[in-house]
């Protein structure tokens, strides 16, 4: 078959060249009117024919045309097309100017299709290479903050290599499938995050998969937000798609190879620190107690002689105000990148090596990442091209901090008692390997847990792809692409013998492997019917296979400390998990364009998924979108409105579920669980144990369904000085595949069913303006506004609340019909007539009420302000990030208050006082102002959160942050010419520089317990998070 094809191509090629063999040749050079540089890749076509060529890297072209007459059309996306009469000339040089009425570049859309933005009937937000490296971020997701509309980004912690969560256009799934699909150069990659331990028990925030993407290697990131944009990706795109295009090889000036060296050094400090009090000692009920790690309700510090915490020596009592600096280090990051790239008309080549070496703010925390990226493309002949790309990333980290609870390694901002001298924690180990210098017998020395207990991770990631493009006949392209993502993620977590809470020592080897194979065959055919109408057809086939394997060995009771061999442990618990899923998809698209100002696109796709019942595993979904450039259609052309486009789309997308949800299963059990991990292991006394599943499998299961509508407009005013992009969208997500909680008294905890729906409605506005452009000075400002309302419209019959994520002490994130995701917890009891807090007449303390919904955890809107100022070689850019609304329950603040560690707890320390916030309900039902004093301040603060009441630590998480600032200077050409570089840029950069506004006291309002691994809800609850950082650094970029 292949031979026939090949012969066919050869024949066609012969035929073509034969027909025109006797004609004349025209040549020339295409340059830019702006700076005179040569323009490669410009289309040169003989008007009215299909004869044409493109300019080479030097802007030269050569074209054979009939002996008489004819007009050449020069076109390039983003430039004004030109038509030139050939006449008798044989050399035609052309200068081309930027077309302000067109959006600047091609956009990479679904299946790697490069599209002219004019023809898109849906919104796409993009970020270009230079915007990703203004102030480098080790997690590429965080670099998108404020720069695109329609996404909500949340960084979980200040851990090195910590995770970031991104949600596109709100929550589309109640079952947690809210992570967008990441596609790199046409190949889907894994962005999962798997927690070691549970989110609640000793959470290590190990980063999500997308961190393997190196910002220095990225050419552009486009976010496909709506259903129509992502419809060709099928079911996996229901939560949006992030299309990453890596840099291709380019030639330097004069066609020479280009070598770029970039070096950054950055310093990290705590972003926020609590306002600690230094007036009262560790202790409780006004008594000094040196053994408390979290409580400072002791004596007023007046220099009285006491036994010092840890050492026990007799010293005058004093506060040690530098404890935070004594414990947290200044983090240092070195980011070095070198790239070599080259290209000519037949090939392009780019090799890039990046090393990231970080030392974190936590003692002994380091991260090293090496990324090698190699990509090359070859144009073998006019009809056949191939390209491959290989990326290898190796990352090792240690000293990751532990958040949450129930783990002896947790040490956080609520552990800084003012009268404990943190210098005394050093040393933390004696010569025999025993833990020393602790405040009591139960708690660990904070340096011991960081230096002696290991929280290590080693990742090897290989992402490779090969793409073959064949053009068997004119206007027909067949692209075959195979991509592989192989990710080995090894975690190694230990508790050294002598760790309080794990006294006999443990180790945990947790090896996760994710493999993804993706094959796409995409053929496109272009047909111009006449001057006005052109057609574009696409047919595609997709095969996707994803495998997950996890092997874990947990060992306890080590005989020889620090020997991590299973034979050295008295008990070992191996566990294994594996899953495989496959998906086949067939897709088609038809696109009709009229006069370049109206484009209607229709798509259809059918998927077959292995995770659904065999007889019900096929699902079909269509989409339609329309792009209409009304300024062209109505020939509006003036200086005020220079470009106007309207777009509309409709799409229906399906979604499958996780593997193995259909059978009733009995699992071999490795552990019977008890409180505080007091577990029993199987085999127990030589017996195996099997237990039934806790989830009743579905009787029938159908795919989830999503329908989206989107309308938008793009307008440009004053010749492109002001741009406005507005999108309204609505989506309806039904037939959600949920594991619905059922009464445990049925013998099961959950049932898998198709129920529930969630609607999303939102608006996105992007303004791009250049308010000032005077001489060499230019100020460009971009404002991105996104609002999305994700309303749960329906749950299972009889179910008025569906758990999304469970925090601590009865705090939950729940889905409630008619509302956005709610924070649910126990408030104070309110007196109904006055609405005020009810006070206990006996104690003077607040009384707990019945659990309720506090409000939405999702932000009302997010805004980003990106400003760029350029003057000659100077460039200053700054991004401000504003998130409005959404609730955060902070267990850290609760712990700080509960322990009397912060300034506000200083009030009323001496004697009793009355809580004026409340009223007393008297036995006859009447209400009086509270007049019952609280016994002590300690009682008051402790009672604030007693009985699982969370109300006092539920905050509005609104914040405004100065997210990044970059200032750079590029050496002018006059200087460059005298030195052996073709470009030199130096800069200073800063990230997370300032918290301009926040209502959450003491901590970063962005902190979160639930990372991207948690059922899609990266919001709402914080506990003992590793504090986030503020960074400042320098950058040098050299181009040879």
């Amino acid at each position: 078959m292949k031979k026939i094809l090949l012969m066919g191509f050869v024949l066609v090629s012969f035929a073509c060249s034969f027909v025109y063999a006797q004609d004349r040749t025209i040549s020339g050079k295409v340059t830019s009117t702006e700076d005179g540089t040569t323009l490669p890749g410009v289309n040169v076509v003989l008007k009215g024919t299909s004869t044409g060529t493109v300019t080479d890297v030097d802007g030269n072209y050569k074209l054979t045309v009939p002996s008489e007459g004819g007009v050449l059309v020069f076109s390039f996306i983003g430039l004004t097309s030109q038509e030139v009469e050939i006449g008798a000339r044989s050399v035609i040089d052309v200068q081309m100017a930027a077309d302000v009425t067109q959006l600047s570049e091609v956009v990479v859309t679904a299946l790697g299709l490069e599209k002219n933005p004019r023809e898109l009937g849906y919104a796409v937000s993009g970020v270009k290479a230079e915007d990703l490296v203004v102030a480098r971020e080790s997690n590429v997701i965080s670099a998108l903050n404020g720069k695109v509309t329609g996404v909500t980004i949340q960084q979980s912690s200040g851990n090195l290599g910590g995770s970031s969560n991104i949600i596109v256009r709100g929550i589309t799934s109640l079952s947690g499938n809210n992570a967008p699909l990441w596609v790199v150069d046409g190949v889907p990659i894994n962005n999962q995050q798997t927690a070691t331990g549970s989110r609640i028990t000793g959470n290590r925030d190990f980063s999500n998969g997308a961190v393997a993407l190196n910002p220095d290697d990225i050419e552009s990131i486009n976010v496909l937000k709506g259903g129509a944009a992502s419809a060709l990706y099928g079911s996996r795109a229901a939560a949006g798609v992030i299309v990453v295009t890596t840099k291709k090889g380019k030639a330097g000036q004069g066609g020479k190879p280009q070598i770029t060296v970039n070096s950054s050094v950055r310093f990290d400090r705590l972003f926020t620190r609590p306002d600690y009090q230094f007036e009262y000692s560790g202790g409780s009920f006004a008594k000094y107690d040196s053994s408390l790690r979290t409580t400072a309700f002791g004596e007023r510090i007046i220099g009285q002689e006491v036994s010092k915490a840890i050492t026990g020596e007799r010293v005058p009592l004093q506060a040690y105000e530098d404890n935070v600096d004594e414990y947290f280090d200044t983090g240092v990051s070195l980011i070095n990148n070198v790239s070599l790239s080259d290209a000519n008309e037949r090939m392009d080549y780019r090799l890039s090596l990046t090393s990231l070496n970080q030392e974190g703010i936590l003692p002994n925390a380091t991260l090293d990442r090496l990324t090698g990226n190699f990509g090359a493309g070859v144009k073998h002949a006019n009809w056949i091209k191939s390209r491959f790309n290989i990326q290898y990333t190796r990352e090792t980290s240690q000293g990751t901090g532990v958040a949450g609870a129930n783990d002896p390694n947790i040490f956080n901002l609520a552990n800084f008692v003012p009268t404990t001298d943190f210098r005394d924690f050093r040393p933390w180990i004696d010569e025999s390997g025993n833990q020393i210098n602790t405040v009591n017998n139960q708690d660990n020395n904070p340096f011991w847990v960081q230096f002696e207990n290991r929280n290590e991770r080693e990742q090897d990631r290989f992402i490779g792809s090969y793409e073959l493009t064949i053009t068997p006949i004119e206007n027909l392209n067949v692209v075959s692409r195979i991509g592989l993502d192989n990710w080995v993620d090894e975690r190694f977590i230990t508790n050294r013998v002598g760790t309080r809470g794990r006294a006999t020592g443990t180790f945990d080897v947790d090896i996760l492997q994710r493999r993804q194979l993706n094959i796409d065959i995409v053929s496109t055919y272009y047909k111009k019917i006449n001057e006005d109408i052109s057609l574009n057809f696409l047919g595609a086939f997709n095969y996707n296979r994803r495998v997950f394997e996890r092997d874990r060995l947990f060992a306890e009771s080590l005989s020889i400390p620090e020997l991590f061999s299973p034979g050295n442990a008295l008990t070992t618990t191996p566990t294994r998990d594996e899953s495989e899923r496959k998906l086949f998809g067939v897709a088609g698209q038809a696109e009709i364009s009229y006069k370049d100002w109206a484009t209607l696109t229709l798509t259809a796709r059918n998927d077959w998924s292995s995770t659904l019942p065999l007889e019900n595993n096929s699902y079909f979904y269509p989409s339609a979108s329309l792009a209409f450039v009304f300024t062209d259609a109505f020939q509006i052309s003036n200086n005020i409105l220079s470009f106007g486009k309207f777009r509309a789309s409709y799409a229906q997308v399906g979604n499958d579920t996780n593997p193995y949800q259909l059978d009733f299963r009995f699992f071999p059990v490795t552990q019977a669980t008890g409180q505080y991990s007091l577990n029993l292991n199987f085999p127990f006394d030589g017996r195996l144990g099997f237990a039934k599943t806790n989830t009743i499998p579905p009787v029938t299961l159908i795919p989830e369904d999503q329908i989206t509508y989107e309308f938008g407009t793009e307008l440009q005013f004053f010749n492109g000085r002001l741009g406005l992009d507005v999108t309204y969208f609505f989506s309806e997500n039904t037939n959600q595949i949920l594991n619905v909680s059922i009464p445990p008294s049925t013998g099961f905890a959950q049932r898998t069913v198709n129920v529930g729906s969630i609607d999303n409605e939102g608006i996105e506005i992007s303004i791009d303006a250049t308010p000032v452009e005077v001489g060499n000075f230019r100020w460009n400002t971009i404002v991105n506004f996104s609002h999305v309302e994700s309303t749960v419209t329906e749950l299972a019959p009889g179910l008025d609340r569906f758990l999304q994520a469970s925090g601590f002490n009865s705090v939950q994130v729940v889905a409630v019909p008619g509302r956005e995701f709610q924070l649910f917890g126990i408030p104070y009891e309110r007196e109904p007539t006055t609405g005020r807090i009810v006070i206990d007449e006996e104690t003077g303390l607040r009384v707990p009420g019945a659990a309720k919904n506090y409000g939405s955890v999702m932000p009302d809107f997010t805004m980003g302000f990106v400003n760029n100022f350029t003057y000659k070689g100077f460039s200053l850019s700054a991004t401000i990030d504003w998130r409005q609304g959404g609730l955060l329950r902070s267990a850290s603040v609760e712990a700080l208050w509960d322990g009397g560690l912060t300034e506000e707890t200083l009030r009323n320390r001496e004697g009793t006082f009355i809580d004026r916030a409340g009223v007393i309900v008297q036995s006859d039902g009447t209400v009086r102002e509270n007049d019952v004093p609280v016994r002590s301040a300690e009682d008051f603060w402790a009672n604030l959160s007693a009985n699982s009441v969370s109300e006092s630590t539920v905050f509005d998480a609104t914040f405004v942050k100065l997210r990044e600032v970059g200032f750079s200077y590029t050496l002018p050409k006059s200087v460059i010419d005298k030195i052996p570089f073709s470009g030199v840029q130096v800069g200073v950069e800063g990230r997370n520089l300032a918290l301009l506004y926040s209502k959450v006291p003491h901590i970063d309002p962005e902190a979160n317990l639930f990372g991207p691994g948690q059922a899609g809800v990266g919001f709402g609850v914080e506990r003992a998070s590793v504090p986030s950082t503020r960074s400042f650094g320098f950058n040098v970029r050299l181009t040879f």
Binding site: V12, Q442, T504, K582, Y676, S677, L678, T746
Partner: protein, 481 residues
């Protein structure tokens, strides 16, 4: 040219769907089974039950009946957390009863030869429902573990639940009798899965009948009409000797050890004498020392004569602590001792329900209880001599010389001591008999000692039939207050 391409495409379209079907048939979990043998499910049930029975309803609540001065995260002050209530509830319903329901259904289908499996499943169900109701009072019983028919189970009142448990135990004993009549022919061998009795169905029958008496004693507190059932039960085979005690034994290796030991190993030095985690309540300390009870030295380590910590306090270096003798790795989880029955017998004789010598039954019960801890329990680090035991048993008051009221107080006090380290049982005794009279700790937010757990949010959120929580000092039906 175009034709060739169309041909290729259509060929692809034809071939793909055919291979698709096969390629997509991979949705079977390679790490799970679709059915399981009772010899594999029963060990899970027993071990999981023991794991929670020694933690949430073990280490956490020994200060509720005030055997211990204080434990970690205890509900003694009146507040029960969702972890405590949820873990307890889920263990009984989803881990124990849910699995037992499947085991029972399979065994019933297999017929009389599998009656031993059915009986064990039914007895364990009765034990679970009985324990659930003394923790929560009203619970789903008649509509539970049947999600198909009752997706939202109704809650039954405590009287119904307790009587239902008696019915379950009667049924189990009948099943065993039917099974034993087969004489072993065509019977299922459950010796490896039965971690309690190794398949000895007569032992299960004795346990079932003994448990039935424990439950009937609660009903009797409200409804004297069950006294004839009690009399009948005392004439059926019972746990008679410490050798017949119902125990869950731990091999004692790490991961196979009692939670009391685990908590000391994981969070302390491995020994309570040096970790100072648990101290005896002043109440039980006085009770034991004032009567020269030899169990004192078995239960308490005075570390050279130190006093117990105050109620509601953890021990410090200047207090006595709970003896490591009863916090060993191989300390069994005790389900039923013969002494409990003899103490009931003494109580019932005094009340005229049973005939016989109350003092003799009482003395036998006390002697069995002391002998269990001092001699018969496996792996004891401290043992008592027979003369020590005799001296004590001879020293306790002769019930015949006491008024009925005083005599019963003596018996109730011994029931309280007999249930040491079994907080659920001693808590139930205290609530049934009111002896000893315990005051709540000073820091308590309730007016009496804890009387119940609140319902866990997991059930309350999913089941609208869940009763509204009452205060945790609200007495239960069986207390008859």
């Amino acid at each position: 040219m175009k034709k060739i391409f169309v041909y290729i495409l259509s060929l692809m379209m034809l071939v793909l769907p055919m291979s698709c079907e096969e390629a997509l048939d991979i949705n079977t979990d390679p790490q799970a089974a679709t059915s399981a043998d009772p010899n594999a499910v029963l060990p899970y049930v027993f071990v999981q039950y023991a794991a929670r029975k020694t933690t949430e309803i073990g280490t956490r609540i020994t200060d509720v009946p005030q055997h211990f001065a204080r434990t970690f995260n205890s509900p003694r002050n009146g507040s029960t957390t969702s972890f405590l209530t949820g873990n307890t509830w889920n263990m009984y319903y989803t881990q124990v009863l849910g699995n037992l329901g499947l085991v029972e259904a399979d065994a019933r289908e297999a017929g009389t030869g599998s009656n031993n499996i059915t009986a064990i499943a039914v007895i364990m169900q009765a034990l679970s429902y009985y324990e659930l109701t003394v923790i929560f009072e009203d619970i789903p019983f008649s509509e539970s573990i049947n999600g198909q028919e009752f997706p939202l189970p109704e809650f039954d009142d405590q009287g119904t639940v307790l009587r239902g448990c008696v019915d379950l135990l009667n049924e189990a004993m009948a099943l065993i009798d039917e099974f034993e009549a087969l004489g072993g022919a065509g019977t299922f061998n459950v010796s490896s899965g039965d971690l309690i009795f190794g398949g000895d169905m007569q032992a299960w029958r004795r346990f079932a009948n003994s448990l039935k008496i424990r439950i009937l004693m609660l009903i009797r507190n409200v409804d004297a009409s069950v006294e004839s059932d009690i009399t009948a039960a005392f004439n059926q085979p019972l746990i008679e000797s410490n050798a017949q005690a119902t125990l869950f034994n731990y091999p004692g290796d790490p991961g196979q050890d009692n939670a009391w030991k685990q908590i000391l190993v994981d969070f302390g030095t491995g020994f309570n004498a040096s970790s100072e985690f648990f101290g005896p309540s002043p109440f039980i300390s006085d009770l034991l020392t004032s009567t020269n009870d030899p169990r004192f030295e078995l239960f308490v380590d005075t570390r050279g004569g130190l006093p117990p910590p105050a109620l509601d306090r953890f021990p410090t270096g200047s207090n006595s602590v709970i003896n490591d003798n009863v916090m060993r790795a191989d300390m069994p989880n005790i389900w039923f001792l013969p002494s409990e029955l003899n103490l009931y017998r003494a109580e019932l004789i005094i009340d005229g329900v049973l005939s016989g010598d109350a003092d003799e039954a009482y003395r036998t019960g006390v002697e069995q209880a002391v002998t269990f801890w001092g001699q018969d329990i496996n792996g004891a680090q401290i043992t008592l001599t027979s003369s020590q035991i005799d001296t004590y048993v001879n020293s306790i008051p002769d019930l015949s010389t006491l008024s009925n009221e005083d005599a019963k107080e003596q018996i109730y006090t011994q029931q309280y001591l007999e249930s040491f380290l079994r907080p659920l049982l001693s808590w139930t005794h205290v609530r049934r008999t009111g002896v000893p009279a315990l005051d709540p700790p000073a820091s308590a937010t309730i007016s009496t000692i804890l009387k119940r757990f609140t319902y866990p949010p997991t059930e309350a959120a999913a089941n609208p039939n869940t009763p509204t929580d009452v205060l945790t000092d609200e007495p239960m039906w069986f207390e008859n207050m």
